[in-house]
């Protein structure tokens, strides 16, 4: 349980970097994945998951009003769920990665919806801040900015715990799907890698 709360706190801090504070790249999947994997005792799965999530959505960029799926949450949930499945069900690393990614990608999209909701709520603050300034309360900007930082931490923290709990409910047969169907998960994983590199390749060509 301590491990889960520690990971959730870490995700809360790292997720704040996505938009709210800095955008230093702490929130990139290639950083979040290994760190969450490390908390769960399996940084290797975190590295592979981080690389995959980073590259799958590398071409999706936050231009204007568009909100991309949250890659930090996706990498965190995937690394945590994959590590959990390897420890509990003894699945091989590639099966754990593919199944956990298949589960975590919708989580990233769900978190994007939460982000959109937050942005709608922020719209209400514009009028509130204008009214505060008109009343001579100049420090309200600082106050609301601090609230925004705490809020994104709390939302990420709770979301990660909920998503991880949901991942633990995935039945054993789903984690062993490749074994049951007689599929080489290593070969299937190579196709995911190819998709990732194709995305990266296209991202350099796209802006020419």
């Amino acid at each position: 349980m301590t491990q889960i709360f520690l990971a959730a706190a870490l995700v809360g801090v790292l997720s704040s970097d996505t938009i709210t504070i800095g955008q230093f790249m702490f929130s990139r999947p290639v950083v979040v994945g290994p760190l969450v994997g490390l908390v769960f005792g399996n940084p290797y799965i975190g590295f592979i998951v981080g690389v995959c999530v980073e590259l799958i959505w590398i071409r999706v960029i936050p231009v204007g009003v568009s909100v991309p799926p949250d890659s930090a949450i996706t990498a965190a949930v995937s690394a945590a769920a994959g590590s959990y499945a390897m420890g509990k069900f003894g699945v091989d690393v590639y099966s754990a990665i593919i199944v956990s990614l298949s589960f975590a990608i919708p989580c990233g999209i769900l978190f994007k919806m939460a982000e959109i909701k937050i942005r709608h709520r922020n719209s209400l603050l514009v009028d509130k801040i204008k009214a505060s300034v008109a009343a001579g309360r100049f420090d309200r900007t600082d106050f609301y900015t601090a609230v925004a930082v705490v809020r994104i931490f709390a939302v990420s923290f709770v979301f990660f715990i909920a998503a991880f709990f949901a991942a633990t409910q995935i039945p054993s047969c789903c984690w062993h799907i490749f074994e049951i169907l007689g599929i080489s998960s290593k070969i299937a994983m190579r196709f995911v890698y190819i998709l990732c590199f194709a995305q990266l390749f296209e991202s350099f060509i796209k802006w020419k």
Partner: protein
Amino acid sequence: MEINGNFRKILKKVFARSFLLQALWSYKGMQNIGFLYAIKPVLDFLWRDEEKRKEAYLRHLDFFNTHPYCASYILGITARYEREFAEGIKGASAEKIVNTKKILGGPIAAFGDSMIWGVIRPFAAAVAVVVIFIFSRDINLMWLGPSVAFVVFNFVHIRMRYRGIISGYTKGEAAFGEVFSGRSQRFFNFLRTLGIVIIWFLLVKGFMRVSTNVSAKIAYPAFFLIMVFLMRKFSAVFLFYFAVVIGGIFGRFYH
């Protein structure tokens, strides 16, 4: 415009606060609250009279949006124009401040989106991936991947944020010369080309050499080309599940 001792401290505060530019991003004003939050130390220093300060705050609550890193140039220029306006320098006005922000936001955003999100971010990711794969047998050395990417990305990021504020303030609109200069374009083109070389290195090393199976040697590059073709028509999420299904079928019959 020269930066004196007191104002340098204020610009450093603006630099620190610029990292929270998007904390209260909204559909109504986009980065307007963040911009006000960042420029606040300048306004508090220049406008001691409460009514004047209110006006200054309110003019920065107009709609504003640009690339978060490149916004530093606009913050620097705005700080300069606010000072000129507060000191009553000829030609300075509230309209000039508001219009400059409106006019510069779009072009700066276009530059930031194409160069920062379109080149630096994928380049840093490519560097991380190549380091992770090179050291994939040693978990300790794999940490070099994210570390190197972090340094590469933030070298450009933090430099742009700090330099943007300082040159925006000292040079005014002439500061954009350094952003849109041929030298800067050449640097980004170099990174783009290097990125493509890295990807080819990863492809050749990662897939062609590991397989002795002829069908796999054909299937991997063919699938790569299909993906490049399909990604213009389908979303990244759809393609991920598509890759898993195709990989599963291939992994069932060709191992």
